[in-house]
């Protein structure tokens, strides 16, 4: 399972490898999206290295600790140059209830967490994955990234930041980067993406400001919570540049490639008035060379404080959503928007201040944020009713608002829907930079957004897959559900919408998401079944691992459901009260078993 380090040449490159310049010819088209992976990997390496040296590791493979310490200085140097996820000490995951809940999954794995040299060995000197990411994804899928030597479950042993880093990397690669991208390519794009995000934030401010001018003031900081009936949407609907049209065209032609689609989509939307980087709109590799460099970055740094006025060109066209199969985006003017941006802003703020505090132990830097900084951040986004919260939660809420609001602008077809804050919270815990978190969230939402659609098509499709899985696996249970008129599986609604976030603990959620994303990344990267044949997890990657896991959680209760429950209400209640009673590893075990036996049947029935 492990990479044989002796076969890998770049292992000793340490920090140096990051400083080399990638040949431009290697830029892949699909890379046009990404910028974050560089940071993710770098940080991962940084953390892996630094944390590893401080942990006592009795295994033979810890011989690599010498290499990690020797290279740590260059990492530290790089840290100031490169993007770092968090400037704090590594996130720590101190406790785990997994000791008593060991499943066969965890027992099966007697593997090591990735050591620094192993990290390095995954990459070429240019920072590309050597094998297109196959090994990396395999490791994530099998829970390896965060596994520790003693197999004390991934998160239990962590003085290190393995779990977080695994998450960040998988997330970044899954949602944003091409597995073939090099470090330089990612860096370049990262800058571009940061500017795009900052532009979105400025738009948010402008909309708030304009709204305040046109509607009566109702609150502090000029945020009007008065039901401005669609005013924004109308204003935003103003004719936009031709770029929008071209972007839309490119969107449809690239529908099958999510990576490119996103790139084409939002860069066009967001950069369309920006002369210096206008041509980035074309989602191909040439765009990379036109990036207007860092010269603008300082100007944009304090977006939340100042922003230029009267630039209608930056307005977002509501039709510019990453549309897939939605029947309702034919014309811009026919958006079925019953909720408007003002409504979203209001609900976002409400939800942000009541976000749960489970993340706090996992980000020391954010947990220890000062009162001043927290309040400043809160004021910048017009948070309200937060006086009862401690600084770290205020800060967290402010970040949620900033990113969710930007997302609502970015994807006005979905806007904001309750549940999205649940999905974003772990991401901002891991990523301390808002713009990085934003783009990861965008990628995350690529799939999840369908669950939030107004027409409910997405959620119904998901529920029907869960139903099919149960039907195929357990006809007895299914017949019982039919009798209770519960075969539509609406009782797992919440699990689908917030991806088990409410049922699992914070740590468990990260485990599940990581494995899930690795599956999706593998599929996207075209890593087919054959590539998995030699590994222990024989279940092929599936886009719907979550749904198999959900079905598994229901199947685990089959006896109770069949013998005791005589209405759908009771099953719903059972599902809603699973929090704290689930073993994520057992769940993944069961889910993978289901995938192995059923995926062909399920997938053919869907197509």
């Amino acid at each position: 399972m492990f990479i044989d380090d002796t076969n890998i040449s770049g292992g000793g490159g340490g920090g140096g490898l990051w400083l080399r310049v990638a040949p431009a010819s290697n830029v892949a088209v699909a890379v046009a999206v990404t910028a974050l992976a560089g940071f993710a990997v770098v940080v991962a390496m940084f953390y892996t290295a630094s944390s590893h040296t401080s942990s006592s590791n009795p295994s033979p493979s810890s011989s690599s600790s010498s290499s990690s310490s020797s290279s740590s200085s260059s990492w530290i140097h790089l840290r100031s140059v490169l993007f770092v996820v968090t400037s704090s000490s590594p996130a720590y995951c101190s406790h785990s209830d997994r000791g008593r809940l060991k499943s066969s999954w965890s027992r099966r794995k007697r593997k090591h967490a990735l050591l620094p040299r192993q990290w390095r060995s995954l990459f070429t000197p240019e920072g590309k994955f050597r094998d297109g990411g196959v090994k990396f994804l395999k490791k994530v899928r099998s829970g390896l990234i965060a596994n520790d030597e003693e197999d004390l479950i991934r998160f239990s042993s962590l003085q290190s930041g393995y779990c977080m880093m695994g998450l960040v990397i998988v997330l970044a690669f899954h949602v944003l980067y091409d597995l073939n991208s090099s470090k330089d390519e990612r860096d370049l794009l990262r800058t571009q993406k940061r500017k795009e995000y900052e532009k979105l934030r400025r738009q948010c401010h402008r909309l708030i400001k304009r709204n305040n001018e046109s509607l009566k003031l109702n609150d502090i900081d000029g945020i009007s919570y008065d039901g401005g009936t669609g005013g924004f949407i109308h204003e935003m609907d103003s004719p936009s540049s031709e770029d929008v049209v071209s972007a839309r065209e490119s969107l449809s032609s690239e529908e099958r490639s999510p990576v490119v689609e996103y790139s084409g989509d939002h860069s066009s939307t967001l950069l369309d008035g920006d002369d210096s980087s206008r041509r980035i709109t074309n989602a191909d590799s040439s765009a990379l060379n036109t990036d207007s460099s860092d010269s603008e970055s300082s100007e944009d740094a304090e977006v939340t404080q100042t922003f230029p006025t009267t630039e209608s060109r930056e307005e977002v066209d509501p039709g510019m959503t990453p549309k897939d199969d939605c029947p309702c985006t034919e014309g811009r003017s026919k958006l079925p928007t019953v909720e408007d941006f003002t409504t979203w802003q209001r609900i976002i703020r409400l939800d942000a201040v009541r976000a749960n505090a489970e993340w706090i132990p996992y980000s020391q830097s954010q947990a220890g944020v000062s009162d001043d900084i927290a309040r400043c951040a809160a004021e910048a986004v017009g948070l309200k009713d937060y006086d009862h919260l401690e600084p770290c939660r205020i800060f967290h809420a402010a970040r949620l608002v900033a990113i969710l609001e930007a997302y609502a602008l970015f994807d006005p077809e979905i806007g904001y829907c309750q549940g999205m804050s649940d999905l974003l919270s772990p991401i901002i815990t891991v990523m301390t930079e808002d713009h990085e978190a934003f783009w990861c969230f965008v990628g995350f939402m690529k799939k999840a957004r369908h669950n939030f659609r107004l027409d409910e098509v997405g959620i119904r499709r998901q529920l029907s897959i869960v139903s099919k899985i149960i039907k195929s696996k357990d006809s007895h249970l299914y017949r019982h559900l039919e009798k209770l008129q519960a075969e539509d599986c609406f009782f797992v609604y919440r699990m689908v919408v917030v991806l088990f976030r409410r049922e699992l603990t914070y740590e468990q959620t990260l485990c599940l998401w990581e494995v899930m994303w690795a599956d999706q990344a593998a599929i996207r990267a075209g890593i087919g079944k054959s590539a998995w044949s030699r590994i222990r997890q024989r279940a092929p990657p599936t886009d719907d691992l979550l749904l198999y896991a959900i079905a598994a959680s229901v199947l685990q209760k089959r006896k109770l459901i069949i013998e005791k429950y005589s209405s759908m209400d009771e099953i719903l209640r059972e599902c809603n009260s699973m929090s704290g009673h689930l073993d994520v590893w057992k769940l993944l075990d069961d889910a993978h078993d289901l995938v192995m036996t059923l995926h062909e049947k399920i997938e053919t029935s869907l197509s």
Binding site: E339, C417, D422, K483, Q485, E563, D569, R573
Partner: protein, 210 residues
């Protein structure tokens, strides 16, 4: 887990009550405040959830199944299927946010008329968060006027201080028991449970939402 079964003979009547209203008005808080006396901040409700409370009102042992729904508009298709079979509906607004009040008459009252199965169903208007008196944006008189218009009961309460929280559910239950058709539904639900505690065939088509 499974605690709701096997209680079939410990109560005389069983009623279904639904909580509706805009996001963040405190529906879940009201429910939790009633059930467990806890007054913490709660994460937004996704979809629907429900809790069961056994209590004695007017000499009768009642089982209240109280459904909590997500407030955001786009969950409405989902939540609307839960109106079916309800004997009581609590329409909640936040006294510090005026639009949550106007939405009750503009939006929620219409939803109720559209989806209710028993037209006798008792409605109750509840203004939450009266602990924040200084921020009040809807007067008590306005609340009473709307209640009159909707033909509903009216109370102001605070899930946080628990002021009027129990009264809210108890008054509603009392009123339900005064309505013969609802009373019958409530006792039928109990009989059904006793007669066939766990037969295969569905009791009320309660939450079916195809």
């Amino acid at each position: 887990m499974g605690s709701s079964s096997g209680q079939s003979n410990s109560y005389d009547l069983s009623f279904k009550i639904l909580l509706i209203g805009d996001s963040g008005v405190g529906k879940s808080s009201l429910l939790v405040s009633f059930i467990s006396a806890s007054t913490n901040d709660l994460a937004p409700t996704i979809g629907v959830d429900f809790k069961i409370k056994l209590l004695t009102v007017g000499g009768k042992k009642l089982k209240l199944t109280i459904w909590d729904t997500a407030g955001q508009e786009r969950f409405r298709t989902l939540t609307s299927s839960y109106y079916r079979g309800a004997q009581g509906i609590i329409l909640v607004y936040d006294v510090t946010r005026r639009e949550t009040f106007t939405n009750l008459s503009d939006v929620w009252a219409k939803e109720v008329e559209l989806h209710l199965t028993n037209k006798d169903c008792v409605k109750m208007l509840v203004g939450n968060k009266v602990d924040r008196e200084s921020e009040r944006a809807v007067s008590r008189e306005e609340g009473m006027a709307l209640a009159k218009e909707l033909g509903s009961l009216f109370l102001e309460c605070s899930a946080k201080t628990r002021e009027n929280v129990e009264q809210c559910f108890e008054e509603l239950a009392l009123k339900i028991m005064e309505v013969p058709s609802l009373l019958e539904e409530g006792s039928n639900a109990v009989k059904r449970n006793i007669l066939k505690p766990k037969e295969g065939h569905p009791a009320p088509p309660g939450g079916g939402c195809c």
